[in-house]
Amino acid sequence: MGVMEQQVAGRTPLVALLGNPNCGKTALFNRLTGSRQKVANYAGVTIERKEGSFKSPAGRSFRVLDLPGAYSLNAQTPDEGITRDVVAGLRAGEQAPDAILCVVNATNLRLNLRLVLELKRLGLPMVLTLNMVDVARKRGIEIDTAKLSQELGMPVVETVAIQSGGEKALLAELDRMPFDASVKINPLSAIDAVSVEETQREVRRILAAAVSTTKDTGNLTEKVDNVVLHPVAGPIILAALMFLIFQAVFSWAGTPMDLIEAGVGALGEFVGDLLGEGLLHSLIVDGIIAGVGSVLVFLPQILILFFFILLLEDVGYLPRAAFLLDRIMGSVGLSGRAFLPLLSSFACAIPGVMAARTIQNPRDRLVTIMIAPLMTCSARLPVYALLIAAFIPDQTVAGFLNLQGVVLFILYMAGILSAMAVAWFMKRRSEFKQQALMLELPAYHWPQPGALFSGLWERAKIFLMRVGTLILTMMVLLWLLSSFPGAPEGATQPPIYYSVAGMIGRALEVILAPIGFNWQIAIALVPGMAAREVAVGALGTVYALSGGDEVGDLLAPMIAESWSMATGLALLAWYVYAPHCLPTLATVARETGSRKYAWIMAGYMFGLAYVAAFIVYRVTLAITGA
């Protein structure tokens, strides 16, 4: 606590950062707070709460809260509801802000200013931040900030949140701001003092007075959209993009994967030599290094996938894809908005399920949540990659396509089509009513490499944390289960066969034999319940222990040896559907507010997985004649 500090009733002033979606608010938040951020959830809901702190040049401290983007305080989504409640001081456990920092996109004042006028009626001190002024100038939009400030009756500052130093003017303005604890906030009903139409007229009057467009630069976004949203070219571009991503996930990741594999192998040997033979050797080399290594190797693929998703999001392509797909989604009773949560689910179902909050209609939202785990999440990739490498020849088909990439594409499509079928089935039983879409297609902009890489780093951290904690624990536990009790005298099978894990696996084998799974797979499925990618590590452990092979050896050739093609493909089919992820089920329970739906989800997905694996197994057997 500095001496210089001005306080409001003995505490650091709290500033709420508020604005329309797509106004660059979060970039500004990051610019202001740097790494001084706390991300948590609002109590009782799963909406992200981002708070940070910063010091102004004069040495004053501020707390800042980044509120979810909203078009209006007349909330239509849970996110907007949070923003409304927090800013109006109606949310239990949240302090009402001392001031509002309203962020507007300078290239789109006509839409953004309406919210500013609405917020003003709450009677809190406000500063208006004109973000993206650099882009506005380039487009020939001249904003007279002095005039605008006079019209709105609040300070107006220009910022460029994506440039370092772009927030300087804002900090200086905050220093000039008198904070007064006696300010009383008006009741929320004050926002309706003036009709929407009247407010819009006021916006136009202010724009006419303070903004002039000097030159018509032509709208690049519109030119791009002419192609991207074209009835014929649009879907082709979308399909090509999706396909490119899947090809990239497979072809670009090769080199780093080989490097990681070699590194893990070398480490295993090095540590193995240090330890000598014995139980500790077995735990560290066979259990931990082999298990964790076989999961770690998929980090490159996960990062490549996330790279594309974050890139498309940053550029502004994702809402366009939702627009193009709205009709297809609508045909099974989903909103085009459901595309975004479902696409996120390709990375991981947990953020996907959480992103379903942007769907206003509760029923639509529930259906979207229920099908999200059918999207192929990145945790399935390790399993897919392993099985594809083992059973699908690496050859070129149709002149330029990699057969392994084609199979991966088919697996993704299987998940998507099944999700559509399930959605249709769930909707069929309810009255079918069309939902409003009202989805903004924001202007395209160049991706921000900084934001992109920090996003990727975030994902890598989450993955490595999981490898480091949950997966490591599972590996050690599995090793314990697989090593004790040891093999009896004169055993004919590898030791794991006689262990606790072996017993569980053999018990499950009875159920899983009809779909072609052997006891090694059955064992791997047990820890695989915690997280899908663990199954690969578990297989690594099972085979390192039962085959006695060198750790770091590729699993793929080993399973290609020991399983039939039918078993491999059946396991792939199983993984398209099986609910192998407790964290997702927990998220579903939390998001839907009841465990019922988590159980329903687990039940229907297991059912689908079993049926699909059974069909694939039998059909492949019939074809291969095994």
Partner: protein, 84 residues
């Protein structure tokens, strides 16, 4: 006397056509006041709008002011317009 310009609704516009908003029909659904939200987004009487693209049997991309919004057919049908 000139003929009064044709009145129709936004969902009948072709891609590339412009019009002026005349009024919005009230419509509430699942607790969402669609009419009010459309007005908040800029679809107010007197506003010039233009349809950029249409997806066959699907939504329309409509430019209003500096923004573009995707609307489903039934939403667009709430907006009465005067075609230019």
């Amino acid at each position: 006397m000139t003929l009064a310009p044709a009145l129709s609704t936004l969902d009948s516009l072709k891609a590339g056509q412009s019009a002026t908003v005349v009024q919005l029909a009230p419509h509430a659904q699942g607790g969402i006041d669609v009419q009010r939200r459309l007005m908040e987004l800029g679809f107010v009487p007197g506003e010039r709008i233009r349809v950029l693209k249409r997806v066959m049997k699907g939504p329309l991309a409509v430019k209003v002011g500096e923004s573009t919004f995707a609307l489903r057919r039934f939403e667009a049908a709430l907006v009465s317009i005067k075609v230019d």
